[in-house]
Structures are given as structure tokens and as C-alpha cells.
Amino acid sequence: MDQLQFDDATKKELASFLEREQAHARVNDSIRNLTGMCWDKCITSTPGSRFARGEESCLSNCVERFLDTSIYIVTQVQRQQQQLLQAQGDS
């Protein structure tokens, strides 16, 4: 618990290291959450010695369509906000 002293270059390097690690951790969280969600959606049979027909493609479709959905929804929100701003500018 001693006080550490860093010079500015080290501080910057440290900050960018931490940022990269946090981005990495966020990706890991997303993949883990998507695995749980898509597992519930796609794996409905009792687990066998391999995936049942259609389960594996369901998993990758689930990830792709979820990301499509996420992009679509963010775009919708942005469009609505812009319309709101425009309407305010017009009045």
C-alpha cells in the first residue's frame, strides 16, 4: 500500500494497457452472455454426444441475428433522436 510514483510516459502506457484489458473483458462478458442466451434458445433437447440437427447453425445464427438486432435498434434510437431535434429546430 505504498504510494507509487510514475512518470507521464509510464502513466499513459498504463492507462492504454488498462483500457485494452477492459475492452477485452467486455468482449469476454458479451461472448459468455451470448452463449447463455443462445444456449437457452437453441439447445432444447437433452445433451447428446454431439449437437442435434440444426443446433449448431442455430447458435451461429443466434449470434449474428442478435448483433443485427442490436445495430438495428441503436440506429432506430438515433433516427428518432434526430427527428426530435429537427422538429425542435423547425418550431
Partner: protein, 78 residues
């Protein structure tokens, strides 16, 4: 500022929740693409989710302010 960052986090988490709920409702069996009828469902679902948030927010806030004015009233009687 701390305040606008908190507000941003709140909006982001609201959008994440809407995405999760609307994906569950509108894309029950994910196919090889998002069809235009999936997208139409998602757009309506998003509108309803935001409306639900407004209803819940209004009801919650009204209730809290009702309860705290009752508390103040009760305190004044003592």
C-alpha cells in the same frame, strides 16, 4: 460530468434491455438473416418498450412523491 455520464449509462442499459427483450419476442428462431417482418416487429417492440418505460417511470415517480408528502403530513401532526 458525473451527472451526464450516469444519465448515459442509464440510457445505454435501457437500450440493452430493450434489445434483449425485443430479440426474444421478435426473433424466436434466428435464421440466416433479419427479415423485413423481423425488423418491423423490432421497431414496434422498441416503441412499446420505451412507452412501457415511460408508464412505469411516471407511475413510480407519482407514487414516491405521494408517499413522501404523506410522510411529511404525518410528521407535521406530531
Amino acid at each position: 460530468s458525473i451527472r451526464s455520464e450516469l444519465a448515459l449509462v442509464n440510457v445505454q442499459e435501457l437500450i440493452n434491455k430493450a434489445t434483449e427483450k425485443c430479440f426474444a419476442k421478435c426473433v424466436p428462431k434466428p435464421g440466416t438473416s433479419l427479415t423485413s417482418s423481423d425488423e418491423a416487429c423490432l421497431a414496434r417492440c422498441l416503441d412499446r418498450y420505451m412507452e412501457a418505460f415511460t408508464v412505469v417511470s411516471r407511475t413510480y415517480t407519482a407514487r414516491i412523491s405521494r408517499e413522501s408528502s404523506q410522510l411529511r403530513g404525518a410528521a407535521a401532526e406530531i
